[in-house]
Structures are given as C-alpha cells and as structure tokens.
C-alpha cells in the first residue's frame, strides 16, 4: 500500500501557498489571493509552513535572491510556481499542485533538501555548523546573504535568535560555531545595555508591503533603529490607475474610480486587520475587495462594505489595542510629502484605519455614479500620486522616526496602517534608501 503517496495526494488537495509579490505586480497578487480564496488554499506565513512558493510578478536582483533563499528553506513536499501575469496564476498553481502530489518529484526534492548539510531529516543535536545563508526566520531571507557572500563559508547570516545579533562584517577571523557571530550590546531606553539583533524584515513576510525591506536593530522586541530599503518600484500603482487615465484625458466614470478606491481601502484594511490578528474580518475585507474588482453588483457590495466599515470603525477592542501607536501629525505628514488618508487622519493608528473606513463608506456611496470623474469625486486611495513617488515615498521615509522605540507588534501595525504602495515609486530605484 502506497501510504506516503496517498498522504501526499491528500495533502496536495489543500496546499499552503507562500506568495512573494514582486514590485509592480499588485494585479498578480490580487489574482493569486482571489484564486487561493476560491480554492480554499490557506496562505502560508513562512517557508517552513509552505507547500507552494508562488512568485507573483518577476523577481529580480535582491528579491530573486530572497525567493531562492525562501525556496531553500522550504521542507519537502514543495513546489514552485511563477506567474508573471494575472491570467497565469491559475495554471501555475494547478501545475504546482500536480507536482506536489507526485511522489517521484517529491522524493527527489526531499533527497535534495536532506543532502544539504544543515537541513536534513536527521537533526544534528546541538550546534551543527553550516554555510548556507538561509537558515533564519522569515524576515531575513536572502538579504543578508547578498552582503555577505564575499566572506566565504562562515560569513555572518544575520537575524539569528538567542539574543545574538550580528554586525555584518569583521568576524572573518573568529571561529564561531555554526558561523554565528556574537552579539553587540547597545544602549536602550530602559538603561540596560543588552544584546542587539540586526534583523531585516521582509521582503518575504506575510501582509507586508511588496518590495520593502526594513533593516531593524532590535533589543528584545523593541525597535531601536529602522532603515527602509526599497527593492524596486513599479510603473505606477494599480490603485491609482483610473485617476492616471483620467489625467491622460480618457473617459473615466466616477463609479469606476469609486470602485477602485473602495477595493484599495478594502485591500489596506484586509492587510491591517490580518496584522492585528483579526483574521475573520480580514478575510471578509479581502473577499469584498475581490468582489469589487470582479465587478460585483453595487447594491450588495455597498451594503456589505458599509457593514464591514462600521464594524471595524466601531470596534472598541481594536481601538483600545491600537490607540497611541505611531502618532503622525498633519504638519509632519505634509512636510514629508504625504497626502491622502494618513494626513487627513492626523493621528495614531486608530485614527488612520478609521479614516479608511470613512473613506470606504464615502467611496461605496458613489458606486453607481456614471458621471465623469471630476475634482469632486473620490480621490486616489493614498492621495494624489506624484512623479517622485509621492505619497508612498514619503510614507516610507517617515518609517524610521515612527518605528524607533516601537515594539515589533506595534511596528507592524504602524506600517500596516500607513500601507505604503511601493508601486508608486518610479521603477528602477533598486536598493534606494528611504532617507
């Protein structure tokens, strides 16, 4: 009896998919999330929890390295799928699932992962050294590697736990077990100089802005210093498309723009709620977003969106959890070149997501307005886009100040409540520093 094969096939009926979105590939990501929801395939959080690694868009440069590292970190059974365009998603997922249920393919894959010294089935007890740069938490795949490759076998690979940080360079001569560097100590707000951890967050991280890497210095889980890095912009945001077309002189109706804006707010809310750990409502927001983009009738859409917006905006627990986090005054935001909800909210995380809810209600109110998009209609979801990457460039530039002193959980909420869309940044800003 082929028990393994049967289990493989049974498991492949519902694979967990880790989606990595390349800059400029929001459309592909949306198609992928829609597909996963329809199929009932859960989204994986980490390479360790994933069966299929789906690359949405074309990963290049540092992102390609991060994808490769994530792939190396995935235990068998595993399969890889690449979809450059939205219409390729379904076929890519189906092919990946077929490979996932194929015993011969998976046994080869398992042998492959087992042969990599530090990744085998047999767990070497204690401290096995290895020279792969991919054995870390999700946050840090690949990125550190690219800096360290020149160091040879035991270069530092960043992001290890155990209170160890790493300082990138300078441990070439030290013979550390496992190639792990010792941590440095640093000042902290509580006056205790404890070990620091240098950890890149992203790009392979769930519910994280595509193409963003945040290099953080942690003491405990308090961020002492954060430096954003951008893996490349897109050629204009998907969410700004109706306004861009209107500016080019095309005929765009208010209804079309409102639908896009509503979907954008729902997308942002979905990401924010997922980070806040309110999975059920996050899933509802994403489902509504997919329906809005698929052209669902405006009546039920309006009703459901309003209900969701009110439920989120009125939740006292959520407001209690997010109050006082990441306060951004209107003046500060304006100087940084930020517009849109983040400025109009002028406050903490709570104010920002409530602003989204209000804007969402306003957008769904004009879903049937067939008039031409004018200045009185709904604006672009993140505020007017500029050639220099505004407003998302400004949002990213503010991260270091807002995140310093925040705890990891708070920092994730702050980032999700700003929700920068790196597709707004001009293409080819590879590895540009946010400030």
């Amino acid at each position: 009896m082929d028990l393994t094969g049967a289990l493989l096939r049974a498991g492949a009926a519902r694979p967990h998919v880790l989606t990595v979105t390349a800059p400029g590939a929001t459309v592909v990501r949306l198609a992928a999330e829609d597909q996963l929801r329809r199929r009932g395939w859960p989204a994986a959080m980490t390479p360790a929890g994933a069966d299929i690694l789906l690359v949405a868009g074309e990963a290049a440069g540092l992102l390609a390295e991060a994808v490769e590292a994530a792939w190396q970190a995935m235990p068998a059974p595993r399969a890889r799928a690449v979809a450059a365009r939205p219409d390729e998603v379904a076929a890519a997922l189906e092919a990946a699932r077929a490979r996932l249920g194929d015993r011969a393919v998976q046994q080869a894959s398992a042998a492959d992962t087992a042969s990599r010294g530090d990744q085998g089935q047999r767990a070497p007890e204690g401290h096995e050294g290895g020279d792969h740069g991919h054995e870390h938490g999700v946050g840090d795949h690949g990125h550190e590697m690219s800096d360290e490759h020149g160091h040879g076998a035991s270069g530092g690979h960043g992001g290890h736990g155990h209170g160890h940080g790493e300082h990138g360079h300078g441990m070439g001569g030290m013979d550390m077990p496992g190639g792990l560097p010792m941590a440095d100590r640093g000042d902290d707000r509580d006056g205790l100089r404890l070990d620091q951890l240098h950890l890149p967050l992203g790009p392979v991280l769930p519910d994280w802005p595509a193409g963003l890497v945040l290099r953080v210095t942690l003491q405990g889980d308090v961020i002492q210093h954060a430096e954003p890095e951008i893996l490349g912009g897109g050629s204009g945001s998907f969410w700004d498309e109706p306004w861009r077309r209107a500016a080019d002189g095309e005929r765009v109706t208010t209804a079309e723009a409102a639908r896009r804006a509503a979907a954008a707010y729902l997308d942002s809310l979905g990401r924010f709620l997922a980070v806040a750990g309110w999975d059920a409502v996050a899933a509802a927001a994403r489902r509504l977003r997919d329906e809005a983009l698929a052209g669902a009738p405006s009546g039920p859409l309006r009703r459901d969106a309003r209900r969701l917006a009110r439920r989120v905006a009125r939740s006292r627990v959520l407001a209690w959890l997010t109050g006082g986090l990441g306060v951004l005054t209107a003046a500060e935001a304006a100087t940084a070149g930020v517009a849109g909800p983040a400025v109009r909210a002028a406050g903490d995380v709570t104010a920002r997501y409530r602003r989204w809810c209000a804007d969402l209600e306003a957008a769904v109110a004009v879903l049937d307005d067939a008039s031409l998009l004018g200045p009185g209609g709904p604006g672009p979801p993140r505020g007017p886009a500029g050639d220099d990457g505004a407003p998302s460039a400004g949002l990213v530039a503010m991260l270091p100040r807002l995140l310093a002193g925040a705890e990891l959980a708070g920092a994730r909420l702050i980032i999700a409540s700003l929700d920068p869309d790196l597709d707004q940044l001009p293409a080819g800003v590879e590895a540009a520093h946010g400030h």
Binding site: H162, H164, D190, V222, G410
Partner: protein
C-alpha cells in the same frame, strides 16, 4: 511500584541538578534545573504531600521560565554556542562540596533517627491549611509580609523610572509619558 518511581525521580532530580553546571546553553541550564524541581515535586507527592508537591511543580515551571529570560538577557554567551568556562576556584568549591556531602551522608547514616511519631493525616492539605491559619498563623503573617516586601523591593531595585519620570516634575502630566502605553491608561 513506588520504589521504582522513587528511584527514577531521585536519579532524575540528581542528574538534571548536576547537568545544570555542565550545560553551556543557558536555556538548557534553566530547563535542567526545572526538571530537577519537577522530580522533587514528584517525590513530595510520593511522600503524601500532594498539595505541596504539585505547588512546587506549578511554581517552579513559572519561576524557571522567568529565570530563563533573565539568564539569557544577562549572560554573554546565552546559547552556549562558544563553549567557555566561567568558574573561579573550581577545585576548592569541588572539595568543599564533596566534604559537605560526605559529612551530611555520614550524619544521615550515623544519626539514630527517632521512630515515626503519630500517623499521617487523612488529608495532608487540610493539615497544612489548618496549621497555617491556626497555630502557625504567625509564620504565615511573616511569610506574607516577606513576600510583600520582596515585591516592593524587587521593583524598586530593578526599575529605573519613577513617578517623576512618568508624570513630570510637578506630577501633573496626563497622560504620563511611557515608552509603551499600557492597556488601562493610568
């Protein structure tokens, strides 16, 4: 049956206690001490002290996990990835420990222990409770105050910020300035 359980627990308690000073990793050190306490708790249950045995298990799991946090925060080499010895006067300590053990062991076997007086109570927990709330009330009060003093003292020693840091020099700042806001908004 009980004898077998005794030997297993006794050897476990002694061996894991010994390993506390053999492991390099602070995590393993702490967990090892925890296992030693769990075995002692089991031995107390074996002796008919159900309540105290289980309380020792309950307390020591919590205490050791909290201890691990501090161990790892303050040690230079918490994961023990780079083996390093941090001893002073290892041989002297060993000699003192061995002599102490020898003296204690000699005492244990040479002392003419008295015979058991009285029978174990039907409910040891009730015996303890009645004693602490009755004849031993003074002990209980002392222990209570000791714990209270410990709580206050430990917080005062460990913390850096006081109310002037939070509420300002005139104690009028509202809301207080805290690095991370709490859930009640005091």
């Amino acid at each position: 049956m009980t004898t077998a359980v005794f030997w297993v627990l006794a050897l476990l308690a002694a061996a894991s206690g010994f390993m506390v000073f053999r492991f390099n990793s602070m995590a393993r050190v702490t967990i090892s001490l925890m296992v030693s306490f769990l075995a002692s708790g089991g031995l107390l249950v074996l002796l008919g002290l159900g309540y105290l045995g289980v309380v020792v298990i309950l307390m020591m799991v919590m205490e050791m996990v909290i201890m691990a946090v501090f161990m790892i925060a303050y040690m230079m080499n918490p994961a023990g990835l780079m083996p390093m010895a941090m001893f002073h006067n290892k041989r002297g300590s060993l000699a003192i420990a061995v002599v102490t053990f020898a003296l204690l062991a000699a005492g244990i076997f040479l002392t003419p222990w008295p015979h058991r007086s009285g029978a174990p109570p039907r409910d040891a927990t009730r015996q303890l409770g009645t004693a602490l709330m009755g004849s031993q009330m003074l002990t209980m009060i002392t222990l209570g105050f000791t714990l209270l003093a410990t709580m206050v003292g430990a917080v005062v020693l460990a913390t850096q910020r006081g109310r002037y840091d939070r509420f300002g020099d005139d104690l009028k700042r509202r809301p207080p300035s805290d690095p991370v806001r709490g859930g009640v908004g005091r």
